[in-house]
Structures are given as structure tokens and as C-alpha cells.
């Protein structure tokens, strides 16, 4: 057990290190902007005095290393700064209650997690079932059709799938709403209904890859002697796959599931924009367009953290599902 624990701790430390380096990259990228934040915040109202005041207020006169450490220190504590749009708004209205980036992101983050959760709940069982069926009936009409269908849905851009679904399920046959109108205290059923169309879109995009990998992982094992043995003793093909092939194919399958959940994080941006889903991806794209640097920085950090975390999970789970590592000699 100790070797496994050590490997996992190593991976965790490596993941943390990666995250720190990524945060440095993000910070450096943002700080390579020409001009400076103060001017960007004030926009057209940038008189020299105001710029100087803002500079001292948000500490732009400090050297970059100090600023990075302060930013990181704040980010760890959940303080991601104040968005430019909000800062502008408060200077215009003269009010003093600042809405921080963290306040803006928190509810949207929950929404995005909900979307990703619904997607995973549909996609993972569907993909694994279809993958097992494709492996069971390999080289049949079903397998060929599934192959063509999955290749096409992997290749389609998310917005194509999204608009096709909107056209058929929301506009021509009004079954589901085409815009995901989500607000804070919504009943669970309504919320699920509003989320279903974006979740279906993501499912179609993600399922294909997981299914192909499940099929490939199982088929890879079918040539092994112990499968031959199970077949020869008269087991039914389904039982051979479920009892003998699947447990050994679990490591690559779990790995690909985790990787695809990580991919969801990227896919979520486009899908949220299509359905106007109030998630973090939508906020990110809006902030990119108005160059709201603190929000962009914060969203980027969150996306990167989630991505690294899921990749790490994939790594650790594939270690854990390997019996040779779990029970060392």
C-alpha cells in the first residue's frame, strides 16, 4: 500500500507544482499587455491623476514578483480582485459595495458544475454501454453504424450539434427550451429541463470518444488466452465481456472518462454561449470581449485548475485500478 500512497502523493505534488507554474504563465501573459491596468480600468476617463491614484490603489507600482505573490496569496484565499467592469460601474455610481470577481464567479461556477454533472450522468453510462455493445457485436451492422456515427459526432464542432438540436428539439418540435434560463432558486425539475439541451449537446460530443475507447480497450483484450478459455468453456459472449474482459479493461476506460470530463471544460465554453447558459464559460467569453483582465485571469485559473485536477484524477485512478501496483510483491 505504501508504494501506491507514495506514487499518489508524488502525483499530487506534481499537480500542485504544475498549477503554480500555470498560474505564473497566466500572470506573465496578462502582464505582457502594453499600457497598464490603470488605463484599461479608466478607459476614456484616464486623467494622469486618476491613473496615478488607481496605480497606487491596486499596487501597480510594486515589482512584478511582489504583485504575483500578492495575487496568488489572494487567489488562494478566494480573493480574485475586482473586475474592471464592476470597478467602472462603482466609480460611476459612487457606491462603495464592490462586487468582487469571486462573487461574480461563485454562482456561475455552481451552474457550470451542474451542467457538467448532468452531462456526465448521461454520457458515461451511455458511452460504456454502447462501447460494450459495439465490442460484443463487433464488425456487425450495428458496429459499423456506431463507428460512422461516433466519428461524425467527434468531428462536428459543438455549435453545429447545438444548432441542430435546437432546430429539431426546440424550434420545430418545441419539447425543450432553446435558451437555458437559469436563476438562483429554481425548482429542480425546471432546472433540469433548462439544462437538458446543452447537456445533450455535450453528451453527443463527448460520448463518441469514450465509446470508441471502451470498445478498443475491450477488443484489445479479446485475443488473450484467458478470454479464449472462457469462450471455450461455453460462457455466453456477454458474460465473457462483462466478467472477464471489462475488469481488465477498466484502467484505460476510467482514464478516458476522466480525460473526457476534462475535455468537457473546454467544450462547455462554446455550448454555454450558444444556449446563453449562465455559467463560467459564458462569463469568460464576455470578459474576453471587453478585455476585463481580472475576470479573464480568474476564469483561466479555474479552468486550468479543474483541467489539471481531472487529469490528475485520471492518473491516480489508472494507478489504483492496476492490481500489480495495488498488491506489490
Amino acid at each position: 500500500m505504501s508504494t501506491v500512497l507514495r506514487i499518489i502523493l508524488q502525483r499530487l505534488a506534481l499537480g500542485l507544482l504544475t498549477l503554480v507554474i500555470v498560474s505564473i504563465v497566466i500572470f506573465a501573459a496578462v502582464n505582457s499587455l502594453p499600457g497598464d491596468f490603470a488605463q484599461a480600468i479608466l478607459g476614456q476617463a484616464a486623467t494622469p491623476e486618476a491613473v496615478a491614484a488607481i496605480r497606487t490603489q491596486i499596487g501597480l507600482d510594486d515589482p512584478p514578483v511582489t504583485r504575483y505573490l500578492l495575487w496568488l496569496y489572494g487567489a488562494v484565499q478566494g480573493d480574485l480582485g475586482i473586475s474592471f467592469a464592476q470597478a467602472n460601474f462603482t466609480t460611476f455610481t459612487g457606491s462603495s459595495n464592490n462586487v468582487t470577481v469571486a462573487d461574480q464567479i461563485a454562482p456561475r461556477f455552481a451552474n457550470t458544475m451542474f451542467l457538467a454533472g448532468v452531462t456526465a450522468a448521461i454520457a458515461v453510462p451511455l458511452a460504456v454501454t454502447l462501447g460494450i455493445l459495439a465490442a460484443l457485436y463487433r464488425n456487425s451492422v450495428f458496429d459499423r453504424a456506431a463507428n460512422i456515427f461516433t466519428l461524425s459526432s467527434i468531428s462536428s464542432p459543438e455549435f453545429f450539434v447545438a444548432y441542430v438540436l435546437i432546430l429539431f428539439l426546440a424550434v420545430l418540435n418545441p419539447i425543450l427550451p432553446s435558451l437555458s434560463n437559469i436563476y438562483a432558486d429554481m425548482a429542480m425539475g425546471d432546472r433540469l429541463k433548462a439544462t437538458l439541451l446543452p447537456a445533450l449537446t455535450l453528451t453527443l460530443v463527448v460520448t463518441a470518444h469514450m465509446m470508441r475507447m471502451t470498445r478498443a480497450a475491450i477488443i484489445n483484450l479479446l485475443a488473450s488466452p484467458y478470454i479464449e478459455m472462457a469462450r471455450l468453456k461455453g460462457m455466453s459472449p456477454l458474460r465473457v465481456i462483462l466478467r472477464h474482459a471489462l475488469p481488465n479493461a477498466l484502467a484505460p476506460i476510467i482514464n478516458v472518462i476522466a480525460l473526457n470530463l476534462a475535455y468537457l471544460i473546454t467544450g462547455v465554453v462554446v455550448v454555454e454561449v450558444v444556449f446563453v447558459y449562465p455559467g463560467i464559460g459564458q462569463l469568460f467569453v464576455d470578459s474576453v470581449k471587453i478585455r476585463d483582465i481580472p475576470v479573464v485571469q480568474a476564469c483561466c485559473l479555474i479552468f486550468a485548475a479543474a483541467y489539471i485536477l481531472l487529469n490528475l484524477t485520471a492518473d491516480i485512478l489508472s494507478i489504483l485500478s492496476n492490481p500489480r501496483l495495488r498488491h506489490p510483491k
Binding site: 504544475t18 498549477l19 507554474i21 500555470v22 504563465v25 497566466i26 501573459a29 496578462v30 505582457s32 499587455l33 502594453p34 499600457g35 457485436y137 463487433r138 464488425n139 451492422v141 450495428f142 460512422i148 466519428l151 461524425s152 468531428s155 462536428s156 464542432p157 455549435f159 453545429f160 444548432y163 441542430v164 435546437i166 432546430l167 429539431f168 424550434v171 420545430l172 418545441p174 419539447i175 432553446s178 477488443i219 479479446l222 459472449p237 456477454l238 476534462a262 471544460i265 473546454t266 465554453v269 462554446v270 454561449v273 450558444v274 469568460f284 467569453v285 474576453v288 470581449k289 478585455r291 483582465i293 479573464v296 485571469q297 476564469c299 483561466c300 479552468f303 486550468a304 483541467y307 487529469n311
Partner: protein, 390 residues
């Protein structure tokens, strides 16, 4: 919610039908092996396929299902075209290409055919397109067909977009811009990632470590997110210069995607570097350039070529997504991602006139079709080179 109930009921009904059908078959043929040994899954499959065919025929004759009819017609047409294409090239050309086409699955023939069509459209866009890509011609009317009763004009067969540009011309020019830019980006990514990867494999040591760790960090950030962040910064740098922003976008995506190429090139390269002929070249006193480009590159061509196809798909989809989000290829250049973004909202009016959904779906479908085609070809190449049978 009743829709979901119907779906569940349909599946249960099909299951029952499959069970009954198998039982009836067993009784009628007095346990012929075909029915006796049939698993339930296969029986269900037959019923499901029959249901799909009946449903398809019903949809075909439904007056409102115009898109379904188009999709089926397009599918059949392309299948026939791919079949004829394969048939022709089985008898025309050199012996090598004849052999290639003889063993080719229909999907790969379809892929090659589509890629050729796109290449022709992209190269000769200026000659094929009836109008200029940013020429504002008349009133906006996104209904295709040019039916004057619907406010259309027969001069613009696919209609005109939201500011009155010919949609057909923009679709054709889109092949040039979108595909061309994606192709250039992939080439740069390959040159960058490939040469650095081979260099890391040949030199090894601290250079290898440095490059590999840098690539690890870059790959830890999701690609689309990182390119969006960098595009924000690039848009400040470009300061409203649209052509410059497009150049920045090409460079950003090329650098981000070159990390994947680097990984592959390094992995393939380290396998080749230990070969005897590299040793011989080193002893001959060849320089680094010779070793990388004349010794390693030709031997790493097969996996790199397959990767080129896949990478092109990813780059193409990333650029389309960026354009769709409004930070990619900038107007007035015609580009499919931007077209979907501009024309997409019209889909919400499809309840009144279903045809308004044609233009955005065609632009998005053009992207999908090319990536599907490239994927089919790459799939076939990988299958051929790996010799995977079962």
C-alpha cells in the same frame, strides 16, 4: 415530460416485440438453430432496425420534415458519388493507386472525395463564387431558393445574409479563408513542433528536459481557454488592426498545437535516434540539419502524416470555435465560424419558415463535413498501418 414517457414505452414495446418475435420464430421453425441460439440483444437489434426504417419512411413522407429529406438525399448522393469515385480510380491511374483504391473502404473514398472538392473550392474560390465575399448586394433575406414570393431574388440562390451579402459566395470564400488559415496554422505547428521534437530527441540532455517540461506546462492549460486568454492580449496588441489580429491568431494556435506535435515527434524521434543508420550518419560527420531532416524525418513520416490529419481537424475546429465566439478570423473575411455566429439566431424563426435555418446549418455543416472526411481518411490510414483486424 410525456415525451420521455413515450420514449421509454417505445423501448419497452420494442423489447417485448423482440422477445415475442424470437419466441414465435422458435415455435414456427420448431427450434431451428437460427432462432434457438439468437441472443435477446440480436433480436432487439432486428426490431430496432425495423423501427428505424419504418420511422425513416414515415419522416420522409411527413410534409414538414424538409431537412430530413435533404439529409437523406445528401447522404445517399454522397455515398453513390464515393462509390463511383472509388470504382473509377480502381481502373484509372498507376498500378499503385489502383491497388490503393481496391482495398479502400467506402468511408475513406468518401473522405478523399470530399477533401478534393474542398481543395478545388478553396483554390478557385475567386473564379467559382458569383459575387465578392464582402460585396453588399441587396436587402437581407436568408430564405434560400430565391423565391420572389418570399422576398427573395433568383440571383442569390441561397439568399443574402444579415447585411445583404450573397451567402453562396461567402460559403465558397469561406472554404478559402477558413480551410486555408487552418492549413497554414497546422503547417506552422508541424514545422515548429516537429523540428523541436526531433531536436530534443537528437540532442537530448538539458535541451530535451527544458523543452519537454515547457511543453508539459503548456499542455496543462486547456487549449481553447489558453488561446482565448492569449487572444485577449493579442487584441490589445493588435489595437484594432484586423489583419494583424488574424496573424496573431495563427501564431497563437500554431504554438499551442505544436506542443502535441512535439510530444509525438519526440517519441517517434527517440525511437529512430538509436538506430544504426543514425550512428553511421553521425560518424560520417553529418550536421544536425542533415540528421533531423534527411535521416529522421523520412522514417517518421507515416505517424506524422496521420497526426497531421488529426491535428488539422483540431486546429480547424479551434479556429471555427474562436470565430464563432467572435475572436477568431475577423470580418470582412468570409468565414464559416463567423457565419454561424451571425446567422445562427435566425434558427429561432424556423418555426415560421423552416428554410431560414438552412444558411447557418450549411456553414456549420461545411465545417463538420470536412472534419468528418479528414477523420475517415485518417482512421483508414491508421487502420492500414497498424494492421488491426479484430
Amino acid at each position: 415530460m410525456s415525451v420521455w414517457l413515450w420514449i421509454v414505452l417505445a423501448f419497452v414495446g420494442m423489447g417485448a416485440l423482440a422477445w415475442a418475435g424470437r419466441w414465435a420464430g422458435q415455435v414456427a421453425t420448431s427450434n431451428a438453430p437460427r432462432f434457438r441460439d439468437m441472443p435477446f440483444g440480436v433480436a432487439f437489434g432486428y426490431v430496432f432496425a425495423a423501427a428505424c426504417i419504418i420511422g425513416g419512411i414515415w419522416l420522409w413522407f411527413l410534409p414538414g420534415a424538409v431537412f430530413f429529406r435533404w439529409a437523406v438525399q445528401g447522404f445517399v448522393l454522397f455515398a453513390i458519388a464515393a462509390f463511383i469515385f472509388r470504382l473509377v480510380f480502381r481502373h484509372v491511374g498507376t498500378a499503385a493507386t489502383k491497388r490503393l483504391f481496391r482495398a479502400m473502404p467506402l468511408t475513406a473514398a468518401f473522405g478523399i472525395l470530399v477533401i478534393i472538392i474542398y481543395a478545388i473550392l478553396a483554390i478557385f474560390a475567386g473564379a467559382i463564387a458569383p459575387y465578392g465575399q464582402s460585396e453588399i448586394l441587396g436587402a437581407a433575406n436568408v430564405v434560400p431558393g430565391g423565391d420572389p414570393a418570399m422576398g427573395g431574388n433568383p440571383l442569390y440562390p441561397l439568399g443574402t445574409d444579415q447585411i445583404g451579402r450573397d451567402i453562396l459566395s461567402r460559403l465558397i470564400y469561406g472554404a478559402q479563408n477558413t480551410v486555408g488559415i487552418a492549413f497554414v496554422t497546422t503547417l506552422i505547428a508541424f514545422f515548429l513542433g516537429g523540428s523541436l521534437g526531433f531536436l530534443a530527441a537528437t540532442v537530448g540532455g538539458w535541451l530535451d528536459q527544458l523543452l519537454s517540461r515547457a511543453v508539459d506546462v503548456l499542455m496543462a492549460i486547456p487549449g481553447l481557454i489558453f488561446s482565448l486568454l492569449l487572444m485577449t492580449i493579442a487584441s490589445v496588441w493588435a489595437d484594432g488592426e484586423k489583419a494583424l489580429l488574424t496573424v496573431y491568431m495563427i501564431l497563437i494556435i500554431a504554438v499551442i498545437d505544436s506542443t502535441r506535435v512535439f510530444r509525438l515527434a519526440r517519441a517517434v524521434g527517440t525511437g529512430i535516434v538509436v538506430m544504426d543508420y543514425i550512428e553511421a550518419a553521425r560518424l560520417r560527420g553529418e550536421g544536425m540539419g542533415w540528421i533531423v531532416f534527411r535521416e529522421i524525418l523520412p522514417n517518421a513520416m507515416a505517424p506524422l502524416l496521420a497526426e497531421f490529419g488529426l491535428r488539422f481537424c483540431f486546429v480547424f475546429l479551434t479556429i471555427a470555435s474562436l470565430s464563432f465566439l467572435g475572436v477568431g478570423i475577423q470580418p470582412p473575411l468570409a468565414d464559416w465560424g463567423t457565419m454561424v455566429r451571425d446567422l445562427g439566431p435566425f434558427i429561432n424563426f424556423a418555426a415560421f419558415a423552416p428554410l431560414v435555418a438552412t444558411a447557418p446549418l450549411m456553414a456549420a455543416g461545411a465545417i463538420a463535413l470536412l472534419t468528418v472526411a479528414v477523420n475517415f481518411v485518417v482512421d483508414w490510414m491508421l487502420q492500414k498501418s497498424s494492421g488491426l483486424k479484430e
